[in-house]
Amino acid sequence: MKIDRRSFLSFLIGGGAGTALSPLPWKLMDDSSIWTQMWPWTPVPEDGEASYVNSACTLCPGGCGITVRKIDDRAVKIEGMKGHPVNNGGLCILGLSGLQLLYGPTRVKTPLKRVGKRGQGSWEKISWKDAISEVAKILSDLRSTGQSHTVGCISDSDRGTVPRLFERFLTVYGSPNLMRTSSIIDSYELTLHLMQGVQASPGFDFENADFILSFGSGIIDGWGSPVRMFRANSAWRNTGGKIIQIEPRLSNTAAKSDKWIPANPGTEAALALGIAHVIIKESLYDAEFVDNYSAGFEDWKRFVLDKYGPDSVATITGIDNTTIIALARSFARASKPLAICGRGQGTTPGSLDECTTVHALNALVGNINKQGGIFAVAEPDYINWPEVEMDATAAIGMQKDRLDGAGSKKYPFSRYLLNRLPQAINSGEKYPLKALFVGDANPLYTMSDSKAVKKAFDKVPFVVSFSSYMNETAQNADLILPNHAYLERYEDIPTPPGMPKPVISLTRPVVEPQLNTKHTGDIIILLAKAMGGNIADAFAWNSYDACLKETLGNKWQVMIKKGFWSYPDFFVQTHEESFDTISGKFEFVSKETGSLKQFKPVNIEGDKTNYPLLLMPYDSIRLANGVIGNPPFVMKSVDDTVLKGNNVFIEINPKTAGEQGLREGQLAMLSTPVGKAKVKVHLFDGIMPGLVALPRGLGHTAFDDYLAGKGINFNELIGPVEDPVSGLDTAWGIRVKLAKV
């Protein structure tokens, strides 16, 4: 057939028209749109049977109950547990993001042994058997050469079965060097010890208090058990409870308080003394309590009346005297007043003077061990394991001085002084640390003066991390023995900080272990068994779960059912039986420590000429600054006036910024005697002129790309300042200078 041009053209046109009129193009159009609605690279979550598991959150010491929604064997959502004594249904931002940690890229997937240089990130996989026998070998070698005391262990907590297993292991092995990450709890425990003669944690009955005098405590910024504090704060809104917030920066707590009183930073103790002065002078104190149950009041009274009149306190604190007087009166006249301290989230212990003075205010109004007041809460003794049988080596090791100096002649009252460890290692004055276990803690990030901490770690030849996540400490360890994530394991959660009644919650597996991990408790037991002898004997359990079940005894069934155990028989001690001091009374001036010292502001680092401004950290509930870093969801909630790209913002008063020639959003170099960092400037009217505030919780070098490399770790810019009595870190800030970049 001859195809001429005309028929060809007709064919083309006819074909085109025919195709256009056929269903084909319409079908293609439809198909393509359907394809866009189910792109293969957009995940489609599989449906299945829904179920709920009750457990407890371990991401901070807050101890909230959680309910996890599951679809088949996947955990899909974490919610607060209704009816839990701590959080009753509410949950914080970090707790809500927990599944991003469980299934996230920061998990350590298998035991790892370092192959490259420390911190380089080169690892090889190692079997659990090999890993444990390697640790056992090193520990045996040290022990056999009489160096058992050179093994240390750092943990965020010393309560609950896992920290206690560590403690038991070190004891039977022969080392006194168990160290707890320090916080305001250390100062409070010391205060309770010195003034009341008890070994207990502070418990604040916020739910029944109606006037909160907070010396910088971030009541809604993550202080104490955060969700409980949020709930208490809301309850005060309903009942008319008042909060007075004393701090130089308008924190969220200050903004939500009924009155914000910006005091010069570091002068909180002086203000407390000024308030005491007014209360005593005007006889507003609880005479019944003071006369019957306290000792040393007259000495203290003289001291306070002599030196801390409202005028002189006004000079120190920058608050005018009428405000001080009015504050003292309203505090004393409130029906359930309560004074608390611990700056921000209370991650630094602060000055002991400050803590004791604030506590003395509570004694003045007689709210010790009383409804709406402060309780000394002893740790519930549910852990009753048989005494360990120490052999000679262990006994000798345990006799050695602690490396951090706690319990030494200099600091006889302190139990743990982790802040002193880097200096002790770096100076080499006592003895070296040959091996270090890091349990649930991240000291390389959370301890101040990061450079010194890193230097000290580098001097420890063998560092073992038990972290579930690749945090800074794990990154710099020699061996990582990853724990199950908290949603994969059983563990008891002891009473959260600040709770007036003891409560133990149960963390339990929501999903099967997703990775090749092992419970830290099991590792300790296996390690003990590998070491043999007395050590193995002290750990007779077959597994951690068996140990926990046995330890909890009859509580186990209840905890499995309810998720927690509260002590129904917990009773409030009468004032007659409350105090175990030398005098048997509440001691305004501790007979153990002796004389009264005049209030001296904490000597923070840096000189005024080179460093004209003051740098303070601030805490935000949206920035996890403890052992866990922000998961992606929490990062998403961080304001763009806190972080932009990888730059963190400092907050500075517009007046001060003007003096420094700095504008909003500008880059500036921040230098302290300890370190320097490039930051962006955010003008904030709510901060006292002369101050610079930097958020805690950023500047991670570990974890994932969603967190690492963003902002600055505040601890790189500040070093510890030792309290003369406790030896704890009292630094609330550091001098700083700002320069345009």
Partner: protein, 272 residues
Amino acid sequence: MKHKKAKKYGMVIDLDKCTGCGSCMVACMAENNVPFRKDESNKLLSITWMRVYKLTNGKPFPNTDICYLPRPCMHCEGQHEGHSPCVTVCPAIATDYNIETGIVSQIYTRCFGCRYCMASCPYHARYFNWWDPVWPDGMEKYLSPNVSPRMRGVVEKCSFCFHKYQLAKEKAFMKGRRELKEDEYQTACTQACPADAITFGDLNNPNHAVYRMAKPDPKHHGRPTNPHAFRLLERLGTNPKVYYLSSREWVRRAGDNYLENESIAKKPAHHE
């Protein structure tokens, strides 16, 4: 027990209680499979169905004050039912006003990404998927099957956890009930709020807490009669279903635009 009247689900947020903790934001992200990226610091590219704004009173130290304001979708009713700013403009009926509940929905598979609804929304409650959603390897395990992840190129926003309404309805139906109890349908943010600052319920039901708190005036498009309550941009006539409570006058004033010297008490809505 007759309640045949349509529901009007709404929210009351007590700004005196709100601590700005961000739990609502994350509870929402977790509930609704909201994606995230490595850098979320540009808030104009960051999908946050629930966003907590930080308001300041603009006064110098030490008279400065701040207040946090959580902003979900307002589920505007408009001047007559369904006349929301966004629903009326969507060319493809990809966002719709549910008459039964008063909830403004978003149909992701229908939306073709013209973003007119975003231009129309004065609350910036609508978000565009500029990128394909990507979860790090393994993390897609936590995705909920009740809310489909969105594909690139479509708009998304708060749905008042509509899927929870559907689940609750199903559950109630199994029990032989047609009416939901107040606590059976609650949004994820409401449940998560540790400060109990968010209350959710039916604004048409005088027994519900939201009704008692906001005291909506049906004669004036639900304008609150509680003197501490206000709605965002009340004067635009969007008729939002989210009410805010604040004891602070400057906060209430920040909820809308006022001329200089104009009193906050006078609230002319231009459409009336």
